[in-house]
């Protein structure tokens, strides 16, 4: 079966301020199968967010191509839902208003989009907070809204860019459990970017690690065969963790 997302030999060079070349990605090839949870793991400055933005269509690759279901990606679209590290909610809209944004932009009738929004608000565990504004919510709750919003577009692919980067450790563990639960309830093809090895093992079917510093290159691939829900004190979990962290010594 043809993979859902195919990235072929992607490289990316930014020209900053008209004079500076920044080489961010070099020869990246990634395949993601239908309904697979793939984690892109890399240290800071390994170009992992840029890779995600290229797949989202917000950047164009300098060389190489991205295709979704065999069709080349040419710009952002509602078939790929993106969850941002910094939440990116509309501050003047309530939880409900933020979640129903996508369907509203596609002119879905009010009743229908309210049902969709209610469903996903419920799924991410925010029932009862529909009328709250983003500033009344904690970081973890804001990111739940971001996830619900992405789901409400009914995208084929979910792209998550270090979604829990701004959360404290405890909330982060909790949200990792939540994202696994949500994914098992409503399967999607997921590409999840993180710099956290434990998070990668807890969530991923497969882990693709990138080598930092810039430009980011392909490093290792790991299949995570552990049963879900995973236990991050399990021996096999810890061994894999050891293996990955040994392999990804930072070269400064």
């Amino acid at each position: 079966m043809e993979p859902k997302i195919v990235c072929r030999n992607i490289s990316k060079v930014f020209i900053q301020k008209g004079t500076q070349r920044v080489h961010v990605l070099e020869d990246i090839s990634v395949d993601v199968k239908q309904n697979e949870f793939v984690v892109i793991l890399g240290p800071g400055q390994s170009g992992k967010s840029t890779l995600l933005r290229i797949i989202a269509g917000l950047e164009t690759p300098t060389t190489g191509s991205v295709s979704l279901d065999g069709k080349e990606v040419a710009g952002p679209g509602a078939d790929r839902g993106l969850v941002f590290q910094s939440y990116m909610l509309f501050p003047w809209k309530t939880v409900l208003g933020n979640v129903e944004l996508g369907p509203k932009l596609r002119n879905v009738a009010k009743k229908e989009r309210r049902e969709v929004a209610a469903h996903y608000i419920n799924l991410v565990g925010l029932k009862g907070f529909e009328k709250h504004y983003p500033h009344q919510l904690s970081g973890g709750m804001k990111q739940r809204v971001g996830i619900a919003r992405a789901y409400a577009n009914n995208p084929e692919v979910m792209l998550l860019d270090e979604p829990f980067g701004q959360l404290d450790a405890q909330t982060r563990y909790f949200m990792e459990k939540e994202i696994a639960r949500i994914w098992e309830t409503e399967r999607r093809t997921v590409l999840f970017v993180t710099n956290n090895i434990e998070e990668a093992i807890y969530l991923g079917d497969r882990i693709i690690s990138l080598k930092g510093k810039l430009p980011g290159r392909m490093h290792e691939l790991y299949e995570v065969q552990l049963p879900r829900p995973r236990d991050n004190t399990d021996m096999k979990f810890l061994l894999l963790r050891q293996q990955i962290s040994d392999a990804s010594e930072l070269v400064l």
Partner: protein, 264 residues
């Protein structure tokens, strides 16, 4: 339950302070005039102004119109000019912020016209409109339109670029991003413009009436000077001030309702 509805009371001092401040101001003013610190020919006491106000409610003398007549004329001019400047300035600024074609066409012209003070337009305005209502409306419009354009333009330009990208990943078109994102996120700046434009309009109203009018609050101030009646001058000034403050308060209330998510 972590989220519970409660009522928060404003501390008593915060309620009393503005009242005390205003009362003290008027008291000191009254005393200064009462004890001839400033001669009565140069400044009128609040009580005199009050007396004059009560007279002017029914008596068109000595300047040819009752309080209500002056106020009505001024209010008409100001509101028409103000509405016109909002109606033209805000959309223009918003469009300039998001659509590069509009920006390219309108920006240079706007920058050329902007530095000319509205009062400098008075001679031309008299050629075009005479000294009737529409000439003054035009001057007031010129004063108000500049902050409207600038604020709404800057407001749109300050839209968070990541929110724009987020909207694109939700499949939003350029027009949808403009209406759903740029305009609401420019609203705080737009409401700032409402206040600034109002101040500009009101200022120019008096300016326009000083030079070319036969009625209106600004005209009343001029007549007060000609007739050497300081209380008439002050009455005109106070009326302009009070009316401006009143409209400002209304705008602020509307703003708070509309922007509940952005400002807290």
């Amino acid at each position: 339950m972590a989220y519970e509805a409660v009522k928060v009371k404003k501390p008593l001092t915060l309620i009393l302070l503005p009242i005390i401040s205003v009362l003290t101001f008027f008291l000191v003013w009254e005393l200064i005039v009462e004890f001839d610190v400033v001669p009565k020919t140069m400044l009128a006491a609040p009580t005199q102004v009050g007396d004059r106000f009560i007279d002017k409610l029914s008596d068109p003398n000595p300047d040819g119109g009752t309080m209500a007549a002056h106020a009505w004329v001024s209010a008409q001019e100001a509101f028409l000019g103000y509405l016109l400047s909002l109606g033209i300035g805000l959309p223009l600024g918003l469009f300039m912020g998001w659509f590069s074609v509009v920006r390219g066409v309108a920006r240079p012209l706007f920058e050329l016209v902007r530095p000319i003070p509205p009062i400098a337009w008075i001679p031309l305005t008299i050629f075009w409109f005479g000294i009737g209502l529409w000439g003054k409306v035009f001057i007031i419009f010129l004063g108000g339109v500049v902050p409207c354009v600038i604020n709404s333009f800057v407001g749109v330009r300050m839209t968070n670029p990541t929110l724009i990208q987020m909207s694109r990943t939700c499949g939003a078109s350029d027009w949808q991003i403009f209406t759903h994102l740029c305009v609401p996120s420019a609203l705080p700046m737009v409401f700032g413009a409402l206040q600034i434009a109002l101040a500009c309009c009101w200022t120019n109203l008096v300016g326009a009436e000083l030079l070319a009018a036969d009625q209106g609050l600004g005209y009343m101030i001029t007549m007060g000077r000609r007739l050497a009646l300081p209380e008439l001058v002050v009455l005109g000034m106070v009326s302009v001030g009070l009316a401006g403050a009143l409209i400002g308060m209304v705008i602020e209330t509307v703003e708070r309702r509309l922007l509940s998510g952005i400002r807290r």
